[in-house]
C-alpha cells in the first residue's frame, strides 16, 4: 500500500512537471511564436479586427502576468482544451489528435507487441545456445539492426518493396477509394498499407528485446535454484523455460510496459517516411507549419502516455514479482 501511494505521488508530480515544462518551453525561448503566427494571419489581410481578436483568444495569446497565464493554462489542460490548430484552422487541436491517435495506436501498438514477443523468444534461444553459432548470428544481427536509423530502413523498404516491386503502396494508411468503415475491402487496404511501416518498426526494435532477454537469461542461469533444478535432473529445456525464462522475463516486461508508453511518440520518423496519418506525421506537419498550439498539444499527449505507462509498469512489476512487494520502498 505504501508502495502504491508513493507511486501515485510520483505519477502526479511527474505529470505536473511535464505539463509545466510544456508551459515553459515556448515562454523561455527567445522570440514570440504566437505573435509571429498572428502576424502571418495579419498578412493574409482578409480578416476583420474582431475576427482577429477571436483567433487571438483561441490560439492562447494570454493576458495578465505569468502566474495568471499558468493558472489559466492548467485549467485548459485539465479540460483537454488545447486551442485551435493554425494549419487545420477550423479544427481544434483535440479534434486533430483524436483523429490521428487510433492510427498510431494500431500501427505501433501491434508492431511493438510482435517485436516484444519475437525478440524475447529469440533472446531465450540465444541464451540457451550461448557461445554456439546460433547465438553469435542472433546477437550480431540484432546489434546491427539495433543501430539502424529506422527511418532509413523505412526508406529502403519503400524503395525496394513499394517502388521497384510494387508489392506495397508507397504511402498513406488506407485506400481512399474505399469508404472508411469495418468492411472487408477497407480492412484489407489498411493491413496492406500498414505492413511496410510495421515491418520497419519490428526489425529496428527487435534487437533490443533480444539482447536484453539474453542478458537477463545469462544472469539468471547462474542462480542457485537453477543449479538445484539441474542437479535434480530436470530436463534442461524444462529448466530453461519454467525456471530461467520466467524470472528473466521480469525486466523485459517492465521494458515492455514502458515501450507501450512510447508507442504514441516512438515512431515519428517511420510515420513521416510513410506519410502515415498518425500522431508523428501530425507533429511533423505541425512543426513545418509552425503550428505551435497543435505541436504543444501533441507533445503533451505523448508525455502523458509515457508517464502513465511508466506508472502501470511499476504496478505490474509488483504484481509479477513478490520480492518487490516485501522490499518496501522504491
Amino acid at each position: 500500500m505504501r508502495y502504491f501511494v508513493r507511486r501515485v505521488i510520483i505519477l502526479l508530480c511527474t505529470l505536473w512537471v511535464a505539463i509545466t515544462v510544456n508551459f515553459m518551453i515556448p515562454r523561455l525561448m527567445p522570440g514570440n511564436p504566437v505573435e509571429t503566427m498572428m502576424a502571418r494571419f495579419h498578412e493574409r489581410g482578409s480578416m476583420s479586427p474582431s475576427a482577429m481578436k477571436a483567433i487571438a483568444l483561441m490560439l492562447g495569446v494570454k493576458h495578465g502576468n505569468v502566474f495568471q497565464q499558468y493558472w489559466q493554462y492548467l485549467g485548459e489542460v485539465v479540460h483537454f482544451n488545447f486551442g485551435v490548430s493554425y494549419t487545420y484552422f477550423p479544427y481544434t487541436v483535440t479534434y486533430m489528435i483524436a483523429h490521428a491517435l487510433p492510427w498510431t495506436l494500431g500501427l505501433v501498438g501491434i508492431s511493438t507487441l510482435i517485436s516484444f514477443g519475437l525478440g524475447t523468444a529469440l533472446g531465450i534461444v540465444a541464451a540457451m545456445r550461448r557461445g554456439k553459432s546460433a547465438d553469435g548470428v542472433l546477437t550480431t544481427i540484432s546489434s546491427f539492426t539495433n543501430t539502424f536509423p529506422y527511418f532509413w530502413l523505412g526508406l529502403a523498404a519503400v524503395y525496394v518493396l513499394a517502388f521497384v516491386l510494387h508489392w506495397f503502396p508507397l504511402s498513406g494508411a488506407y485506400n481512399a477509394a474505399f469508404p472508411t468503415g469495418f468492411h472487408w475491402s477497407f480492412i484489407v487496404s489498411v493491413v496492406h498499407h500498414g505492413f511496410l511501416p510495421a515491418m520497419t518498426i519490428v526489425i529496428s526494435s527487435i534487437g533490443g528485446w533480444l539482447l536484453g532477454m539474453r542478458n537477463n537469461m545469462i544472469n539468471t542461469l547462474n542462480e542457485d535454484y537453477v543449479l538445484l533444478a539441474n542437479a535434480k535432473g530436470l530436463k534442461s529445456r524444462w529448466v530453461a523455460w519454467m525456471y530461467v525464462a520466467r524470472n528473466a522475463l521480469l525486466p523485459n516486461l517492465t521494458g515492455f510496459a514502458m515501450a507501450l508508453g512510447f508507442v504514441v511518440g516512438g515512431s515519428l520518423l517511420t510515420e513521416i517516411v510513410f506519410s502515415y496519418p498518425g500522431i508523428g506525421f501530425l507533429l511533423y506537419n505541425a512543426v513545418i507549419n509552425e503550428d505551435y498550439p497543435l505541436m504543444q498539444g501533441i507533445f503533451l499527449i505523448i508525455v502523458v502516455c509515457v508517464v502513465l505507462a511508466n506508472f502501470f509498469a511499476d504496478l505490474a512489476y509488483v504484481l509479477f514479482d513478490p520480492r518487490v512487494r516485501r522490499g518496501g520502498t522504491s
Binding site: 536509423p149 547462474n222 520518423l269 501533441i298
Partner: protein
Amino acid sequence: MSIGTLAKQPKAPARARSRGAVAEIASILWRNRKARVGIVMLGIFVAVSIFGAWLVPYSPKDSSFAAMAGPSWQHWLGTTQNGQDVLSELIYGTRVSILVSFSVGAIATFLAMLIGITAGYVSGWVDEVLSFLTNVFLVLPGLPLLIVLASYAPGRGMTLIVIIIGFTGWPWGARVLRSQVVTLRSRDFVTAARLAGDSVGRIISREVVPNMLSLVMANFLGASTAGLLAAVGLEFLGFGNPSQISWGSMLYWAQNSSALLQGQWAWILAPGLCIAFFGMSLVLINFGFDAVSNPRLQEESR
C-alpha cells in the same frame, strides 16, 4: 601482462590501482572477440574522419558534374542534385558525424556522472531530489522533446543539435551510475579512505570513479550511439544545417530531391550503412564493457 609489470612496483598505490584498472579493462576488451571487431571498425572510421580530406576523389563542394547520375566508375555512388560526388560527401561527412556523436556522448556522460555520483554519494534529500529529476527526464520522450525544442529554438545548426541532445541524454546513465555509487559507497576501501581523512573530491576521483570506469565508458558509448541516431533523425527532418556535409544532411538532401524515386539508391544507402556500421562498432565495444563490469557475461577467451 601489464598487470604483472605493475605488480612489481611497490610505490604509489593509488596511481597503480587506477592505471591497473585501465590496463585490465583494455585487456578484457581486447580478449572479447566482439569488442575487438568493434575496436577495429571504430579505428577505420576514425582514420577516415582524420585523413578524409586526402582520401576524397573529388572536392565535396565541386558541383561541376552531371547532376543525379547513377553509380559509375567516375562516381562510385553517383552524384547529387547539384552535381556533387556522393562518395566524396560521404567521406567528408564522416568527420562531422563522428564529432557530433562523441560530443553528445561526452556532454551526456558528464552530466550523468555529475548528477548520478552526487545523488549516490551524498544521499539524503539531495538524492531524493536528483533521483526524482532523473526519473522525470527519463520519461520525457526523446525525439518529440527534441523536435519541439529545436523548432522553438532560434536558428538551426549542428551546435544547437549537439547541445539539445546532450542535455537531454543524461538520465539513463545518471540512474545506472547512481545505483553503482550507492553500492560502492559502503565498501571497505571507501570507508578506509574516508577515515584516512581524504576529501570527498579525492575519494570520488581516486576510489569511486576508477572502480566504475567500465560503466562510465559503456554509458559514453551508449550515449554516443543514441546521440548519432537522434542527430541524424533531426537532420533528416531539416533541423540541422543542411549546407554542412554530414551523413544526416546527406539523407536530408537525398530525401528532399526524391533520390529513391529517381533510382539514386546508393545516395540513400551509403550514409545509412555508415551510420549503422559506426553505431554497431560502438555497440560491439560495449559488449566488451558489459563483460568487464559483469564477469558472468565474460566470454571464454577467443
